[in-house]
Subunit: 188 residues, 2 copies
DNA sequence: GTCTATAGGACGATAGAC
DNA sequence: GTCTATCGTCCTATAGAC
């Protein structure tokens, strides 16, 4: 049906990448326009509310991508310990390959915009809530009691985000690797 | 000896606070000058390398403060489980009281500057390394084997940072509380 | 050491022709 | 839908009087 959305999609794709790597304030609309090859006039046609709206839609695309990655990784084994470990190892591997090119999804936007934009804050909260739910669902399906599954979903999410942040900053996938190693202890 | 550093100290104190709450790019030198009450001319007198140098020294102050908080918290009990739990609970409590006013120490600067400034990246790495070491030392002193103490130091640091980031974004101290709750499982 | 004024550039956003 | 020109604002940084 919508085959002609390529311009808007191109802008969002470029914006998603730049926002994640550079952050919200360091990424200018001019840079997005330049790198996406789209005309500046069309930016405000597709995103009449400007930078905030563009960041919002870009963040939603990023969050959907990450959620999908988590969900797919968790499907690889019925055993939640193995599934979560393999998910984190996959991320560590991708980090080792891509280096800094992925930034830290959601976190960079969350820290910069949570206090200045309600729509963006809500989108970040929703993204993290979805990540957390994916872990909780996996734990529930393996027979864990509900209260404990929710608690551990929160903890898994915290560990993953923290390890990602530290791996990024230290330039070393060790935090991700070490966190993965503790999953059996935590879930046993 | 140095009783006349009050102007420079005032600038650093204000800058530390603003950088942590708003981030690097969203915080202007004009705002720092205005809120600190210091004259703009003196900013470039005390920090000839400009914003980067100011952010560097501010980050070091913040990192020292956080490290001190961690070290003090860990001293409260010889049992590392109790000590780490009480440390995280203290942070959760402070978060519940202060709300967003503390930002997420180090992380906000780390995400925004690690890719654009080597001195700032190094300072962030050093800060995280020190946090991690504090945990590792505590675990070593309680008789844990060295390799495992180092691994768990990395994991503790990741969990704490991740939980802090999530608590900040979600506006809820639950991630910190839940992470604290898992410490006995992880260290037993 | 302090203060003011200002340079010089980037930014987000808009207007209006096409 | 696209494109260009431009406005007003903010930024970092500097120059030079005091």
């Amino acid at each position: 049906m919508n085959e002609k959305e390529s311009t808007k999609d191109k802008i969002i794709k470029t914006a998603s990448r730049l926002f994640q790597i550079q952050g919200y304030h360091a990424t200018g609309l001019n840079q997005i326009i330049k790198e996406s090859g789209a005309p500046k006039g069309s930016l405000y046609y597709h995103f009449p509310d400007g930078k905030e709206q563009l960041a919002l839609e870009s963040l939603q695309v990023t969050a959907k991508f990450v959620l999908n990655q988590i969900a797919e990784g968790l499907q690889k084994s019925s055993d939640p310990v193995i599934a979560i470990q393999s998910l984190i190892h996959d991320m560590a591997e991708r980090f080792e390959k891509e280096g800094y090119e992925g930034g830290v999804p959601v976190a960079s936007i969350a820290l910069e915009t949570s206090l200045i934009s309600e729509p963006l804050r809500n989108a970040c909260q929703s993204a993290y809530g979805n990540f957390q739910d994916a872990f909780t669902q996996k734990l529930l399906s393996s027979g864990l009691e509900e209260k404990r599954a929710i608690e551990l979903g929160i903890v898994m999410n915290s560990m993953l985000e923290g390890a990602f942040l530290l791996s990024f900053t230290m330039g070393d996938s060790q935090p991700l690797r070490m966190v993965a190693k503790q999953i059996p202890v935590l879930l046993k």
